[in-house]
């Protein structure tokens, strides 16, 4: 977070209440330069703002914590996982270490597992397809894939992923041969799973950067395959 950034940065998105008075951690009111005075807050935004101010006032959180959390979340994106996958495709030693010591390798690569969670990397092969679900809630490797998509948290996915995984994959565009074993992994405990998809044919000699562009979020959840080389030509 840059010095001098306004403490109310979270709210500098155009939904400030007109005439609202914000307070610093010491309780003194402070200004919000650049506020749009004419924006009317919706119910949820008003509630969030009120809760934020109360939490700061009661010393439950510091004035920067919401901004810091937003900053942290902005670093959790699917390209983190894609970087690891592309490196594993390119470097057999790295791949072996990623599969054998996943958490250490993830940390060495500069990523911070949420809640210090353990991470397991599941390798798809020509005979095995892994697919991750959390039937109890929405456990997900957010440090590597960002926040889970809404469908991952839906009741429909959480129930159908375990009862008819191939039908679900088919809806994502992945048709598997019957002799490929499907392993649905229910991520309901303290571990987070990342699927290492198969490297697409026709990518021999590609740089890690080009390869990473083929690695979609959904392919690292295991519901679909990476993009084909044609998809990113030119």
């Amino acid at each position: 977070m840059s010095e001098g950034k306004d403490r109310g940065g979270f709210y500098d998105t155009g939904w400030q209440p007109a005439g609202d008075v914000h307070r610093d951690e010491d309780g003194r009111p402070h200004d919000h330069p650049g506020l749009q005075e004419d924006v009317v807050l919706g119910v949820r935004a008003s509630r969030a703002l009120a809760m934020h101010e109360l939490l700061v006032e009661k010393d439950v959180i510091g004035g920067h914590e919401v901004d810091d959390a937003i900053e942290l979340w902005s670093t959790r994106v699917p390209s983190n996982g894609a970087t690891l996958v592309a490196k594993a495709w390119s470097d057999p030693e790295f791949k072996a270490r990623l599969l054998e010591h996943p958490k250490e390798t993830v940390v060495e690569s500069g990523f911070v597992p949420e809640h210090n969670a353990d991470i397991i990397v599941l390798e798809n092969t020509s005979t095995v397809q892994h697919m991750v679900v959390c039937t109890l809630c929405s456990c997900y490797p957010t440090a590597l894939l960002g926040p889970p998509p809404d469908w991952y948290k839906s009741f429909s996915y959480r129930s159908r992923a375990v009862t008819e995984p191939r039908a679900v994959m088919s809806e994502f565009g992945l048709e598997l041969e019957e002799d490929v074993e499907v392993r649905v992994v229910d991520s309901n405990s303290e571990l987070r799973f990342l699927v290492l998809p198969r490297r697409p044919a026709g990518t021999e000699g590609w740089s890690e950067e080009r390869l990473a562009a083929l690695v979609t979020r959904d392919s690292m959840i295991g519901v679909s395959a990476p993009l084909s080389p044609d998809a990113v030509q030119n």
Binding site: L136, V162, T163, E181, V182, V185, D186, E190, L191
Partner: protein
């Protein structure tokens, strides 16, 4: 490190219990038979942690594999399909 009750390859049956407190054992594996793939480590007990407890002592957790046809008698996609889930030792008994 306590003595582990199960080793890879052991056939296990998941206890068919519904305690009133939070637990992570999905209903669909209860009373089903699977195979221990591996001991994955000692983990805080989420069942006490969810209710204000410390979660200590840590408990052994295993990755258990089930045939999809064992979980869902009508499963029609492919007889070789599997499901993996991590379960605390106290949910397992020898099958």
């Amino acid at each position: 490190m306590p003595e582990l009750l199960f080793s890879p390859g052991d056939r296990v049956l998941v206890r068919d219990e519904t305690p009133p407190h939070h637990h992570r054992t999905p209903w669909y594996v209860k009373a089903r038979r699977g195979i221990v793939l591996e001991f994955i480590g000692m983990y805080l007990d989420s069942e006490t942690r969810a209710h204000g407890g410390s979660g200590l002592p840590e408990l052994p957790m295993y990755r258990v594999e089930f045939d999809q046809t064992e979980l869902w008698p009508e499963y029609a996609e492919s007889p070789s399909d599997k499901l993996w889930v991590d379960l605390y030792e106290h949910w397992l008994e020898r099958a």
